[in-house]
Symmetry: C2
Subunit: 201 residues, 2 copies
DNA sequence: TGAAGTATATTCACTGGTGAGTATACTTTG
DNA sequence: CAAAGTATACTCACCAGTGAATATACTTCA
């Protein structure tokens, strides 16, 4: 049994999650993370081979939970496809009103690591965003062929662009209303693709 | 004559521009900037009261030039409103293919300073984005009342969201094609707002 | 006019503190 | 016991910001 070990590893990852997300990757030292996890820095280096490694692990740990969250918002929403897509944005708006909200960890990490394109964490971020896009495309595909002249994967990409635009813009303005605006735009695109007259909310 | 003075200040600002943009705000030290500017760190502190102050000056110096660039792309484009809007995105795609391109300096700075909401540089960034949005709204307003059920300022905000989405997404994937996708989405929205059938490229 | 004084601009050398990462030794537990 | 896990205590590099001194140019007024 390596229960103690995993405990330490988990505590490190939990601390890293909170601190990296709250303060940013470069603003947080391993000393601070170790302190928050209640262990020594050397123990951090026992479980992770470098800070970059821990950054990568941080993003890996967020991948599935974030996607699940989007999925649950989408599924819980009443109404048609436009409504379900819009619901994602409305939920983001709600999240963004919490004072601890600091944007999308993947996007912020990508911004901080823009000078290290090959960084392993970048790959995790890119994969995460691709998964979101692919999932959206699936949903659109499943929802019917009515969107013929507007391929599902194009529409999915456009929605994803609006989503990341919302994340970035809210962060700049500190105003969750931008997520609602993005939701309306997404709604217009999806409704339009479905061939129906684009009924706006 | 204070020519020497302005020279030093300008050199500092030029060096800060290049380094902050290329490496990120927190990754660059004032020692590095001073070295690049060919002066002493103390001289940096003579002209700027702190690193934060220099960060702010960096963004201030980018505000007008960036807006001018967008404007020039828009004006140079042939065709109607949808084409002119789309042209902005196409030009961003072209810029993004240069190896030195590292996204939008305002967005990346906002991501790095997410833990300091009141930071002066954040205000500069927010003001910059607002100017872009306001300019777009003006253009839409001027272009006619035909977009009745889709208020010009809503449409402007949607275009801005797509733009920032493009900036972020290109950075994550290192693929300028996302700007083209965003441009198509913007084209669909603008064309749709004009009441015409949304003819896609 | 020119000497004395003052503001501007710059340098060298430093401080206190923090950063990532490590050498070594202790401790737990199967 | 031996291996996994953790701690103490350290290195060396860097960083934001400063103290004290100096050089240059502009201003004042005897």
């Amino acid at each position: 049994m390596r229960s103690t070990s995993s405990n330490a590893r988990d505590r490190i990852l939990t601390a890293a999650n909170k601190l990296f997300y709250a303060e940013g990757i470069r603003a947080v030292s391993l000393d601070t993370i170790a302190a928050k996890a209640g262990i020594t820095k050397k123990t951090v280096y026992y479980h992770f081979k470098s800070k970059d490694d821990l950054i990568e692990a941080y993003l890996v740990s967020r991948d599935q939970p974030n996607l699940e969250l989007f999925r649950s918002w989408f599924e819980a929403a009443e109404g048609g496809l436009p409504d379900k897509v819009q619901a994602i944005f409305q939920n983001i708006a709600a999240s963004a009103r919490h004072p601890k909200w600091k944007g999308c960890g993947f996007l912020r990490t990508a911004a901080e690591l823009a000078n290290m394109p090959g960084h392993p964490a970048m790959k995790v971020g890119a994969a995460h965003k691709k998964k979101f896009e692919a999932w959206m495309a699936e949903e659109f595909q499943a929802a019917g062929r009515e969107l013929a002249p507007y391929p599902a994967h194009d529409l999915a990409r456009h929605v994803m662009l609006l989503l990341d635009g919302a994340f970035s813009t809210i962060l700049v303005h500190r105003d969750a209303a931008y997520a609602e605006a993005a939701g309306e735009a997404a709604r217009v695109l999806v409704a339009g693709a479905l061939g129906g007259a684009s009924q706006r909310a």
